[in-house]
């Protein structure tokens, strides 16, 4: 192909591309595809995602704690509030994100698609921002609804790392759009949104009405789920994956003894709990011996990373009492191991000194006034303030002083 003909073909392609873009933008035109609407939704999403990100970081560190990270033990519901905020903010973000993506969709077809390197990088970062946001909300919902088969990856770490993609994309987006957004907020919704009421003169939603409907939908979703975190509202929890009062001893269970394959070992009359490792007097305690030790009661909630919070009354031996009997140093940390096979996920957990010294950290023998149910960790389980549910190790076999 000679140079003249090539130039002609390229110019024709450019014209065709612009025509295609104009065609799409014309057909997708609506008073609601407006800068002010996009800005209000974008700012709201930015706040929601920032909350989700910060609470998600805390959640991730609590579940996979590096040596430098320790959650405080007080207030006892701090971790629960963090989880509830994380999950509920994520759920409230669903309508915000879908409405925002609908509002800005025609801009996908702006022509020319790229106006230089910086613009190309900004547009490419949208893949991280939009794809990452959809990924986070999709996997978050799939996780709380236990739809694991939809995720061909390990959810906690994939969710954690993709959150960084979203934040990175958000930073680029804020830099590119902050001036336009400031102008849009200064100008306001304009006509026809300035008309009072829900309907625009043409009959459809006004811009304010659209924003209001989006927020109301987020509120509706939160209202139908919040009951799994706030027990008094449990009757409202029509779409919650949990009812905090359904389960043995009126407490939910994530994994039963049968699923963990510990039934026989847990019911063995010869069961003993061993305390060993870096201590002066390693000991073994039968269930009867544990019951003879000084007991303490504590009102603590099981808080799951899925967002449900189930308060309960526990009774058992304070962990620090047991460690004192074994001659462990007061500043020692311990690893508690379950009767489960030790290669299984969350079959053990580390308890830091601050949690050990908290009087409410118990090796629980009773739940809600009854002997511990098998599915809740009989014969002995750990329960402590401000720890993720997966770290409240059940069916304890060993306490190893580190």
């Amino acid at each position: 192909m000679d140079a003249g003909r090539r130039r002609h073909v390229t110019a024709a392609g450019r014209v065709a591309g612009r025509r295609r873009a104009d065609w799409v933008q014309e057909r997708a035109s609506s008073p609601l595809h407006h800068e002010w609407v996009a800005t209000v939704l974008g700012v709201s999403l930015g706040i929601a995602f920032a909350l989700c990100f910060l609470t998600g970081i805390v959640d991730h560190l609590a579940q996979h704690p590096p040596s430098w990270f320790h959650l405080p033990t007080r207030p006892v519901n701090l971790y629960g509030i963090n989880e509830a905020v994380h999950v509920l903010t994520g759920i409230a973000s669903i309508p915000l994100l879908l409405a925002k993506l609908w509002t800005v969709w025609p801009r996908l077809f702006t022509w020319p698609p790229v106006r230089g390197l910086a613009h190309a990088l900004e547009r490419l970062s949208l893949l991280a921002l939009v794809g990452g946001s959809l990924f986070q909300l999709f996997t978050g919902v799939a996780n709380i609804d236990y739809w694991y088969s939809s995720m061909p990856f390990f959810f906690p770490t994939a969710h954690f790392w993709v959150a960084w993609l979203v934040v990175g994309g958000l930073v680029v987006h804020v830099g590119a759009k902050a001036p336009t957004a400031a102008d849009a907020l200064a100008v306001g919704p304009g006509s026809p949104a300035s008309s009072v009421g829900t309907a625009a003169p043409s009959g459809g939603l006004t811009r304010r009405g659209f924003i209001g409907a989006t927020f109301a939908t987020g509120g509706l979703l939160v209202a139908t789920v919040v009951g799994e975190s706030v027990t008094p509202l449990r009757k409202l929890a029509l779409l919650a994956p949990r009812n905090p009062t359904v389960g043995p001893a009126s407490l939910p269970v994530n994994e039963s003894a049968a699923q963990a394959r510990v039934t026989a070992a847990a019911l063995d009359p010869g069961y003993v709990l061993t305390v060993g490792g870096n201590c002066r007097m390693p000991r073994s305690f039968s269930l009867a011996a544990l019951r003879r030790l000084p007991q303490r009661s504590a009102g603590l909630a099981i808080t799951c990373t899925e967002g449900w919070i189930a308060p309960a009354q526990w009774r058992g031996v304070p962990l620090r009492t047991l460690l004192r009997l074994a001659g462990a140093a007061p500043d020692a940390a311990v690893r508690v191991e379950s009767l489960e096979a030790q290669h299984r996920l969350y079959s053990s957990s580390v308890v830091d000194p601050a949690h050990i010294q908290d009087p409410d950290t118990l090796l629980a023998l009773e739940l809600n006034g009854r002997a511990l149910d098998l599915d809740h960790g009989f014969p002995v389980r750990l329960i402590a303030p401000d720890r993720p549910g997966v770290e409240q190790t059940k069916w304890l076999a060993r306490v190893i002083v580190l």
Binding site: G203, L238, V246, V253
Partner: protein, 163 residues
């Protein structure tokens, strides 16, 4: 003054571009390097698929539906219908896994997913459409008052107009 503001905007944009891509690089590295992520390609594939599904299927479908509604429905029903459709779409998008019942697969404790979610989703959608109906009735009343009675279809749509 305007030049100074333009320079400031340009600097902000440049700093955010570099910083944002740094954070994206950190996330990508973690996704690929973290051995516990397992199948990081699977998560990237899901991310891209969701992006494509949104841009090429979900939003165009919503735009087309809006275009159709504006042509078919009387004007006074539009706002109510839009509210109903928006809320219904979001409720269904959220509750899709609950309705599919996939959570009752392996390792599911019996206290998981304790409700009849089909029934509950139906109740929530019914509430949504009651609100939509109220909005429609309200819009109709306002329109009748304004015009002194009579029914009105949507104004003749401008080419390609949708909502």
């Amino acid at each position: 003054m305007r030049a100074a503001r333009g320079g400031c905007r340009h600097r902000l944009s440049a700093v955010c571009l570099v910083g944002g891509w740094g954070v994206i690089g950190f996330g990508l590295h973690g996704l690929v390097a973290d051995s516990s992520t397992r199948a990081s390609l699977g998560s990237l594939r899901t991310l891209v698929l969701l992006n494509v599904a949104n841009d090429a299927v979900a939003v165009p479908a919503a735009v087309a539906l809006g275009w159709l509604l504006r042509r078919l429905l009387p004007a006074w029903t539009l706002a109510g219908a839009q509210v109903g459709l928006l809320a219904s779409a979001v409720v269904l998008a959220y509750s899709y896994p609950l309705l599919g019942d996939w959570g009752h697969g392996t390792r599911a404790g019996y206290s998981r997913l304790p409700w009849d979610y089909g029934w509950h989703v139906g109740e929530v959608l019914a509430a949504v459409w009651v609100v939509s109906g109220v909005l429609m009735a309200w819009a109709r009343r306002r329109r009748r008052r304004a015009s002194g009675g009579g029914d009105h279809r949507s104004p003749a749509p401008t080419p390609g107009a949708t909502a």
